[in-house]
């Protein structure tokens, strides 16, 4: 019985210690602005490292570029980079921990600083003693001014006025006190949305030739709870992929004509997508991202049209070309190489000796090695970037609120007090939290006009 009691007492005690620790130690530390500044600058600094050191390259890349001896700046070898995770800074545990700490700091700051400040701003008081005006930098004592001159002046300047007998209080720009609170809240919303999205979303890429149907399979990045997002009961048919070129041969736009098919193969949606205009279906979005040449359809003499696959050739980074080989003798002892570099329809034909034999356009034919080679079509394939991100609604809400509130935060919260003392002199004073220069001008103008009304 007693041991039971002492046990509960101990538990309560520990609880108290923990809650004390939270209230007196942890939260004040998290809400400390110096910590916030330090966090902002630290996140900035580590972000810089990710833009200087190449991200997501292969091991051999880092070994080649960051040798152990001599190490860059004396310490930055590939081993250090890989151990610290500097090859994927933005996904390391310590970067994410920084972001979480940043989120906690934001939350703590909102509760311990911003809400009290807003409360104080809303619970204003009249100034009842002349000495209360002495602490304000912008205050004046007018010997013969009248309080009644103020309301109309202040109304012109869009102040909200509260008056009671010989006392007056006016304020404007309370939005400037609310703005920062919403800024912090929307940042938390964006952080939460991006974490949720990273956990439940996926990314995929597909390279699909014109005319083929595909299901989303080539997923290269998925969160631990992404399974329900991956579509299983519908597929996509690429009806056609094509490129529009400008008159001088540069690419104008890429287009893919896509159909969404249900399990029975029935079309449920059809859209032509291009860069900047994706297709959305059941939370999954398909973007035009890349392209390639997949095949050519050719006829040799009187053969039927044959679809021959084209393969991308290694040019050592000198642009992209695709090529294939077409036999010109039935025993395949001779043939020609056909090269294409874009979908404009021009093909280059090389002979067995590697010399250029001629060119042929899509829909035309040419004579090589004594046979007639007719090119019906150069078939392109479309490169699609596919993703689902259930965190988007949260993130976008955060974006919207952030844009609104960051503009609100520009507003300066101005307050003006006035008091007509018993000996007839008028005390006017005011302060603002941001626009000191503009407010000073406003105050001086108000004081001048009050005097003008008197004389």
């Amino acid at each position: 019985m007693t041991s039971q009691n002492s046990f509960t007492a101990k538990v309560i005690n520990i609880r108290e210690i923990i809650s004390d620790y939270f209230r007196k130690e942890l939260i004040p530390l998290l809400a400390d602005l110096r910590l916030a500044i330090l966090l902002l600058l630290t996140i900035a600094l580590f972000s810089v490292s990710g833009t200087v050191i190449e991200q997501g390259e292969t091991l051999s890349f880092y070994q080649a570029n960051y040798p152990e001896d001599p190490a860059l700046f004396g310490f930055l070898s590939w081993k250090v980079i890989l151990t610290l995770g500097l090859d994927h800074v933005y996904r390391t545990w310590w970067f994410l921990a920084l972001l979480i700490l940043f989120g906690s700091s934001l939350t703590a700051c909102t509760f311990t600083r911003q809400f009290p400040a807003l409360k104080a701003a809303r619970q204003w008081k009249f100034y009842e003693q002349p000495r209360q005006f002495q602490k304000l930098a912008l205050s004046a004592e007018l010997e013969s001014g009248s309080l009644n001159a103020l309301p109309s002046l202040l109304k012109q300047k869009r102040y909200r006025i509260f008056q009671e007998g010989n006392k007056l209080y006016a304020r404007k720009g309370i939005a400037g006190r609310i703005g920062p609170i919403i800024v912090h809240a929307s940042m938390l919303l964006i952080l939460a949305g991006s974490i949720y999205g990273a956990m439940t979303g996926f990314f995929a890429q597909e390279m699909v030739p014109s005319g083929e149907t595909f299901q989303i399979r080539n997923i290269f990045d998925a969160g631990p709870w992404a399974e329900p997002q991956i579509p299983k009961d519908w597929s996509v048919k690429v009806n056609r992929f094509w490129i529009d070129y400008t008159p001088d041969g540069t690419i104008d736009q890429f287009y893919s004509d896509l159909s969404v098919l249900d399990q029975a193969g029935q079309e449920v949606d059809r859209q032509t997508i291009h860069v900047n205009k994706p297709l959305r279906h059941q939370g999954v979005t398909l973007y035009q991202a890349d392209w390639a040449i997949s095949a050519i359809r050719v006829r040799v003499n009187n053969s039927p049209f044959l679809q021959i696959p084209m393969a991308q050739l290694d040019t050592g980074g000198q642009g992209r070309v695709w090529g294939t080989w077409i036999p010109t003798k039935p025993d395949m002892s001779e043939g020609v190489s056909v090269i294409a570099k874009d979908l404009q329809g021009m093909l280059l034909i090389y002979g067995m000796d590697g010399q250029l034999v001629g060119t042929v356009r899509e829909g035309m034919s040419t004579e090589v090695n004594g046979v007639t080679l007719a090119i019906a079509e150069v078939v392109g394939s479309t490169g699609l970037q596919i993703k689902a991100d259930p965190g988007i609604p949260l993130v976008y809400t955060g974006f919207g609120l952030l844009m609104l509130s960051v503009m609100m935060s520009y507003v300066s919260h101005s307050q003006i007090w006035a008091l007509q003392s018993e000996d007839g002199s008028l005390y006017v004073g005011g302060r603002t939290n941001r626009a000191q220069v503009a407010f000073e001008r406003e105050m001086v103008e108000i004081l001048d006009q009050v005097q003008l009304k008197e004389t």
């Binding site: 602005l33 110096r34 916030a36 500044i37 600058l41 996140i43 900035a44 972000s47 833009t51 933005y90 400040a117 005006f133 002495q134 602490k135 304000l136 930098a137 205050s139 004046a140 004592e141 007018l142 010997e143 001014g145 400037g176 400008t246 540069t250 690419i251 104008d252 890429f254 291009h274 860069v275 900047n276 994706p278 973007y287 991202a289 970037q385 993130v395 976008y396 974006f399 952030l402 844009m403 960051v406 935060s409 005390y427 004073g429 302060r431 603002t432 939290n433 941001r434 626009a435 000191q436 220069v437 503009a438 000073e440 001008r441 105050m443 001086v444 103008e445 004081l447 001048d448 005097q451």
Partner: protein
């Protein structure tokens, strides 16, 4: 009319005008007694602003899209932004010192764009597919305007640092409202003292004619006149009269720098978000840690730290201004430096 010839003429003219403007502002700061110099400087800035606007307008007509697709156009847009924000800052502070720092930067940008960029990079070219979107105008123009505002704010902070070198300064204006209260030594002064105090206070910062930027408010007779107009009523009273404690030149520059950065920061936020939404609509990810994106975030973080430093005890005075001034460098790295890396989505239409 030949739009290309007009553009070539306009870019050289805006450079020449800005060069002259810079000299005018510098002379007016060195010899504040020469009249009309500041007005001439402002006029020059206005002419340059209109020249650049006409240049960009001609581009828009020629190319058929908002001219923000290559380095030349974006340099001129940012120079236009700097001249525009300059007017805002000059009008808010009524100090010619703003022009002393903004004019050389605007001049240097136009000089680089008009004189040292190779001719083939100056011509207008068709947009690549990825940029064919209405988001281009929204995202890029807001980003460049925010860079312009942040640069002007940072430049004014540099001016503040220069004129307050070796002094202890307490800041006015921050979201908790520090500085709205009377400093102890000015509390309860007599009207005579008040005017001399404030004159010496600001006089210590700069020569008398630039000292009262905030004081020429009502009757235009200099710093003490306003104080007199308030204290006229007070002198009749033998006891301790109360009159407004005015801002010094340093206070004014500091506050204007804060307000201009305060304007650039929302623009930067909106620009980044517009870019994020565009990226999500066009490429499927609102944030991909592309170097340009990351540097925009870094810029955002640095200026967020500045805004927070101003409301932190122990961090006031010159420290936030140093942070703001270093922000100038960060903006430049974000705007141009990242393109030296030459990778990512933002290398379209740029040089290396």
């Amino acid at each position: 009319m030949d739009l290309v010839a007009l553009q070539n003429w306009l870019d050289n003219v805006s450079f020449a005008v800005l060069f002259l403007t810079m000299l005018l502002y510098w002379t007016s700061a060195a010899f504040p007694k020469i009249p009309y110099l500041q007005i001439l400087g402002s006029t020059g800035m206005g002419v340059a602003n209109l020249c650049i606007a006409a240049l960009l307008g001609a581009r828009w007509i020629e190319a058929g899209y908002f001219p923000l697709s290559n380095l030349y156009e974006s340099l001129f847009f940012i120079a236009w932004g700097i001249t525009a924000v300059h007017f805002l800052a000059e009008n808010m502070s009524r100090s010619p010192l703003v022009g002393v720092v903004t004019a050389p930067v605007a001049m240097a940008i136009t000089a680089f764009a008009a004189l040292s960029l190779p001719a083939q990079m100056q011509v207008s070219e068709p947009l690549v597919p990825a940029l064919k979107s209405n988001w281009l105008m929204m995202h890029v123009s807001v980003m460049l305007l925010s860079y312009a505002a942040l640069m002007v704010g940072a430049l004014v902070a540099i001016a503040f640092l220069v004129i307050t070198r070796g002094q202890e300064i307490e800041l006015k204006g921050s979201s908790v409202g520090t500085g709205a209260y009377r400093t102890a030594k000015y509390r309860l002064r007599k009207s005579e003292e008040a005017s001399t105090h404030s004159a010496t206070h600001s006089g210590a910062m700069a020569s008398p004619s630039i000292a009262p930027p905030t004081a020429s408010v009502s009757n235009g007779a200099g710093g003490t006149a306003v104080l007199n107009s308030v204290s006229d009523t007070a002198t009749a009273k033998p006891s301790v009269p109360l009159s407004p404690q005015r801002l010094s030149l340093a206070d004014t520059l500091d506050n204007i720098s804060y307000r201009i950065i305060g304007l650039g920061f929302p623009l930067l936020t909106i620009g980044i978000i517009a870019g994020a939404v565009w990226a999500n609509e066009a490429w499927g990810s609102y944030w991909s840690w592309d170097p340009k994106e990351t540097w925009a975030l870094i810029t955002w973080l640095v200026f967020a730290a500045y805004l927070h430093a101003r409301i932190t005890r122990g961090w006031q005075g010159r420290r936030p201004a140093i942070l703001a001034a270093s922000g100038f460098l960060v903006v430049w790295i974000c705007y141009l430096g990242v393109n030296l890396l030459g990778k990512g989505l933002h290398s379209y239409g740029w040089f290396f």
